[in-house]
Symmetry: C2
Subunit: 156 residues, 2 copies
């Protein structure tokens, strides 16, 4: 149970791929994509998680989050109960001083979209902006994964 503080950006190019120290493939669906009581099932290569998020603060930076690891096979069955569009993406992890950028390259219905997120320790923490980092979209509801599960990028 914690408060998530993060900022989100578009990317200018794919230079981030060469800087990645880890990659993971995610498949995730929503049992509720409402942003005030978001319930997500996420399956990775070898694990699965159930995550519940509350509403964001006004700036979109901080958000209540509760996460629990669950059985991966059970998670696959829970994905079948989720709202129709399942999000598929590859996440690249990139070190940025002592912080980490998570860059998501989307597939399937959201093919073409790439989003970078950085998790901060406090809302106004400064951090280095790499050359490949694009426009900030923190708090922009269209870039919530839950929004993308209802309004996929291919329809924008």
């Amino acid at each position: 149970m914690n408060i998530e503080i993060e900022r989100k950006f578009l990317v200018k190019n794919k230079d981030f791929k060469n800087l990645s120290y880890k990659e993971e493939v995610f498949k995730q669906g929503y049992l509720n994509s409402d942003k005030t009581r978001n319930v997500r099932i996420r399956v990775t290569n070898d694990k699965a998680f159930l995550t519940i998020k509350g509403a964001s603060n006004a700036s979109g930076t901080t958000r209540f989050e509760w996460e629990k690891e669950i059985n991966r096979q059970e998670a696959e069955q829970l994905l079948l109960l989720c709202e129709p569009i399942i999000i598929e993406k590859k996440r690249y992890y990139i070190k940025n001083d002592d912080l980490i950028f998570e860059v998501d390259e989307f597939y399937a219905d959201n093919q073409g979209l790439i989003l970078a997120e950085i998790e901060l320790n406090s809302e106004h923490q400064k951090f280095k902006k790499p050359d490949w980092l694009g426009k900030e979209v923190t708090g922009n509801k269209e870039y919530y994964n839950s929004y993308l599960s209802k309004n996929p990028f291919k329809n924008w």
Copy 2:
């Protein structure tokens, strides 16, 4: 992860109370009260559970159910994210041959409503009907707890 097979009834009187071998007080809310992807947080005297249920079959008897015990204090925080009406009820457990009736007496916004449920091993299993058991309401959506959380008994 299992399939729940159960039948639900109204009660004729409160005679069931003298037959109860255990009682528990429940407080429960919904992160999604949609009957096709129902997400429930339930807090009991000393435990808490997160339960996910899918849609019922046509007769309303069977339903996919996944349940996980979670930290009770965390559950209290998750209840704050739930849809507005929290269900409060006392559950009485009553032996019926080798099966068990769970009889829920509702409080707060659902005061006055009492529902009895029996969990079966197969859909057409026979069981003894005690005198206090009333009309069957299996599959009647109005008696789903998720429905009662949106349309409480006091407004019927």
